[in-house]
Structure formats: C-alpha cells, structure tokens
C-alpha cells in the first residue's frame, strides 16, 4: 500500500493539442494519502475515467508522472502497479464459475490454493454470493455479475489501491446502498486506498472521507464533504454539491460590501477590490426570506421535500433558492432574500477568493 501522487499530470487524446481546451485532463498535482477513501465526483465527460485509467496504468498520460510511495510508476504496466479496478459495466469470465472468477486474480499471482479458497469464501460472503459460488457466471443477472466484478476487485489483499469506476450503475437502488456500506466496512477493515469515481454526489459524499470534484479536466477541489459544503473553492463545486446548489450572483465587491445591482449586501470580511468576473455565492441553507433587506425576489413555488422545504424564487433572471425548516413559516409579504454574511463566498473568475490578510473581522 502506498501514497499516490500525481505530479504535473495532464492528458490529451490529440497528437497536436492547440490549447487548454484540447486537454481531457489539464495539468494537475494531487496527492492521495495512503489508506484514504476518496471519491472522484463530476459530470460525465469531465475526465474522471481518464484520470482513473492513468492511475491504474491502463492509459499512458501525455505528460507528468504517477508516483506510488517513492516509486515513479508512470511507465509501469498495470501488473507492476498492483492495482485493482472495477469497471462501470460488469466484466466476468463467462466460462468460469463464480468461484473461479473470484480466484482468477489470485491464481495469476501464484497464491497458495488453500489461502485462495479461504479468501474467496470471505469475499463471497461480503458480496452475498456464497450460495452461488459454483454456478457458471454466464447465466447470472447483470447485478450479480457486477457483484462478481466487485469481488474480483477486492479479493487481493496486497494491492496498492482499489479503483472503482462508477461500479454501482447497473445495480438496483436497494442493493446499491448495501454494497456501498460493505465497501465502507471493507475499507475500515483492510485499510486499502480506495478511489471511487461517480457522478452521484450522494454516493460520493457517503462513501468518501475526501471528495475530489472534477470540472472540465481539472480537479476543482479536493476536500472533506464539510469543506465542499462550507467553503467550495470553485463556483462549479458550489453549484454541483448540495441540493439545490449554491445561489450565485454577479456582483461588485468593495471591501466589506458586495453590490448586486443597486442592492448592498454586507460581507463578514474585507475582500479588497477584486478585478475580473466577480460573483458572490450563498448556500440555500443560509438564505432566509424576510420582509426587507437583502435582495427583492419573486417567489415561484414552494417544494416540500420531507424534513425541510425548498423555496424557489427569482431575482431578475437569476434563480434564488432557500431552504426553510418546517417550523419556519413564511411571513405574509416576505419578498426579500436575506443572506447570512458569514457564509457568503466571493468568487473571482470562478475561483474562491479569500479575505484580505489580517483584515478579517
């Protein structure tokens, strides 16, 4: 097991890339701690799978290095990296039984048969397929096959990392939850480094200790779920994480004040006078609806989603959402959205801007 470091890594599928946009992965430096449970979260086409395949050695990067522990493995084939990977769609060896499928990676490494038998039994229990061990894999359903793929990914104990590429896509929702819990347990038990690719934020946030949010070939932020929520480093993270996502407004910022059109919004710290495209963002959780203050909005509708209520409104052409607890009653004539100053983030050209040093309140 080892720490995984990506050093100035980038990838393009083109022979002669002209500019940044031709890169599927833009140059990045990332470190994955040994034994961490990570999620790689992003919309489809953002480069998640490419990044995963570069780490596992299925794809050679156009530039940069992949380092496991202290060893540069950029040129090492998968076998030498000692990595396990589970793919989006089930890959099983049709002509083998479930048992042979699970034993396959171990047999290829020449492990002792008794140990193989024990280990296979153990994994079969985890994926809930003990009863079907001696069936041929061919006739099984798609989710049973995917469970076998997961099992094959987890069967080796000595791997440097286990990579999951949207492994639960074909699994039905109930089983999804169960398998994810199993993966968590396995992680706690064996302490493998795990990297889990998904486009589903719930999956990412419940599985991982740290989530990397990817956006147009970049890692926009790598942080705990709490950090992604409270301090998104990029407007994309703010918008992508949370339900509904962060409210974002074009604004002018001057010291401790932001202005949205004619409306003045107080900030909790001094942000100086940033140049470029300036936006302020506030989570719906920290947005209240009041009779005055903040910005005027047109209330469109109120959605009851169980534990809380989502209020959908508009300010000009911009959507404004607020999450109200059920006790909160919407006062008659409340037409203004008011923001908690401490929770407002300032973004310049998409990236979070910290307050000016020493000036914070």
């Amino acid at each position: 097991m080892a720490r995984i470091r990506l050093d100035n890594l980038a990838h393009t599928y083109m022979t002669y890339p002209r500019d940044d946009r031709d890169f599927a992965l833009k140059p990045m430096n990332v470190e994955w701690e040994d034994g961490g449970a990570y999620a790689l979260l992003g919309a489809s086409g953002c480069g998640k799978t490419t990044l995963l395949n570069i780490i596992s050695g299925l794809r050679a990067p156009s530039q940069g290095r992949v380092i496991f522990g202290d060893t540069d493995v950029t040129e090492c084939p998968t076998a030498e990296r000692n990595i396990a990977q589970v793919f989006q769609f089930p890959v099983v060896y049709d002509t083998m039984t479930v048992r042979q499928n699970l034993a396959f990676p171990l047999r290829n490494r020449g492990m002792d048969p008794t140990r193989i038998r024990n280990r296979v039994q153990q994994i079969a229990k985890v994926i809930g397929m003990e009863a079907e061990l001696d069936r041929k894999a061919r006739g099984l359903t798609a989710d049973a096959k995917q469970k076998i793929s997961l099992g094959r990914g987890m069967v080796r104990e000595d791997v440097n990392a286990i990579l999951f590429d949207e492994p639960l896509t074909v699994i039905d929702p109930q089983m999804k939850w169960e398998l994810r819990t199993q993966l968590r347990r396995l992680h706690q038990e064996f302490g493998h480094t795990m990297i889990y690719v998904t486009h589903d934020q719930t999956e990412a946030l419940t599985f991982a200790d740290k989530v990397a949010v990817m956006f147009e070939g970049r890692i926009a932020q790598l942080g705990t779920p709490e950090e992604l929520f409270r301090k998104p480093q990029h407007t994309f993270v703010g918008y992508f994480i949370g339900s509904p996502g962060m409210n974002l407004f074009e604004a002018e910022v001057d010291g401790r004040q932001a202005r949205i059109g004619p409306h003045v919004i107080p900030l909790a710290a001094d942000y100086g006078r940033p140049e470029g495209r300036v936006q302020i963002g506030i989570r719906p959780e920290f947005t209240r609806i009041a009779a005055s203050g903040g910005i005027p909005v047109d209330i469109l509708r109120i959605e009851d989603v169980g534990r809380h209520v989502v209020l959908r409104a508009r300010h000009g052409g911009v959507a404004v959402n607020a999450i109200l607890s059920e006790e909160d009653t919407l006062a008659e004539g409340a037409t203004h959205a008011v923001f908690d100053p401490a929770e407002i983030g300032v973004f310049v050209d998409g990236w979070r801007r910290d307050p000016v040093e020493g000036a914070s309140a």
Binding site: T15, R59, A60, P77
Partner: protein, 289 residues
Amino acid sequence: MTRPSPNLTLAARQRHLEGKGTGWTVTARVTLAVYLLFLMVPIYWLVNMSFKTNTEILNFITLVPEDFTWDNYTLIFTDPTWYMGYVNTLIYVAINVAISITVALPAAYAFSRYSFMGDKHLFFWLLSNRMAPPAVFALPFFQLYSSVGLFDTHIAVALAHCLFNVPLAVWILEGFMRGVPKEIDETAFVDGYPFWKFFLRIFVPLISAGIGVTAFFCFMFSSVELLLSRTLTGTSVRTVGVAMTRTSSAIGLEYGTLAAAGVLTIIPGALVIWFVRNYIAKGFALGRV
C-alpha cells in the same frame, strides 16, 4: 523491466503499458506477412503467366515475364467465344442478385419482426437449401429447365443460383434488420404510413449497408459457381467458367490465354471487395456480431 525512453510517442508508451512489447508485435506482423504471401503468390503466378508467351511458360520458370506480351488479353477481347463468356456471366449474376434481394427483403423483414405459424421450420428449410450439394441438383435442374424450355438461357442459371442465394440473402438481411430498433416501425405506423411506403422510403434506406453486403455475397456466390452454370448452359449462353474448363481440356493448351481469362475473372470481385471493405467482416459474420 525495460523502460521505454521518455521521448517515445504517446502511442508507443500506450502499447508498452498494454504489454504489447516489440516481441509480440513483431511475431504478429511476421505471421501475418507470411500468410498474406501464401495467399498472394499463387495469384501472382497467374498474373505473371498471363503476360507470358506460351513458349516461355512451357520452357522456362521465370518470376517476371521476360518476353512481356499483351497477346493473351488481346485474344480474349477480340474472340467473341471468350468475351461473350464474361457478358453472359455478368448478365445471369445481375439477374440473380436482383431477384434474390427483391424477394429476400420482405421475407427477412417478416422473420425479423413477426412470429408466425411455422416460421422456425420455414427458416430452417430455407437454410437447408444453402446446405444442399449443387451436385444433387444438377441433373434435376437440367431436366426441369429443359422441360419448361429455359435450358441454355440466362434466366435458368439465375433461378438455379437462387437456390442457395435467396436463403443466404434472407439470413444476412435478417441479421441486419434485427439491429434496427422496432420503435422506428411503430412510430412510422402511428404516423400513418402505409406498410409499403414505410418499407421502401424509411426502412430500406436504413439497412442500405446490409443490402450492399447482401448484394456482394449474392454476386460472389453466383459468379464463383461452376457446376450448375455449366450444366444449364449450352452453346448460346456460354459462361467464362465453361470456356475456361473447355480450354484446359482441349489439346494444345494455351496456358497464357487461360491465365489471362482467369485474371479477368478476379478483377470484378477485387473491385467489389474494395467497395464493401468496411463491412466485410460483419458481413461474413452474417450480421450476427
């Protein structure tokens, strides 16, 4: 572990990661090259001979014609018993392709979309005709077509070849049609298209690749067959194959002419393959991959 040097191209580094070292690649390339050589040398020998004089063929083994000549080709293009052989062959092959595709299209559609009484048995019976040895049918065909006055006509050979080409066409087309989602048919019917209009205007263009492949196979199997075409033709519709076999059994063999005639039969096939090259593999798998 050997490491590739860092200035290798991305593609080379990718191959290295995939474990396709130079050893494997070289073995594969050499095997393939040797096999292609095995395929091409006999054809080359035929081409080589077609440009030689009979004296050179019979007396010397030369890898390239020493006494290069077009005479063999000139003879074929000036002697009607030769060149009419090509014309006759092309005529019955064309008729056969047209008939096979026309009748096979609706049938393949029926097999791919509907289940009906006896469909499986019918399909198997059709296929069984593809499996029938032409030798079994040679004599009965001769008698049948003689009795209806079709002996020694293009249509007789074209119809006889339908025996194996129609089942084949149904089979290939059915494979391609299976790949077209049924929703397309249903949408068209909901939109009020009558069946034939839908079939000709919408469906047929959708499987044009499949039709091309089918035409290729019908062309091929009709033009390569000798036994039936020889049995069913006499003096007025003499085919190339017949002309060639009669030449080879005659006294005083003109090997050069025979070779030139052979080369000329290969050319149309080679051209047609080039046009369907992107579908060859799928076509030979009968659209079932």
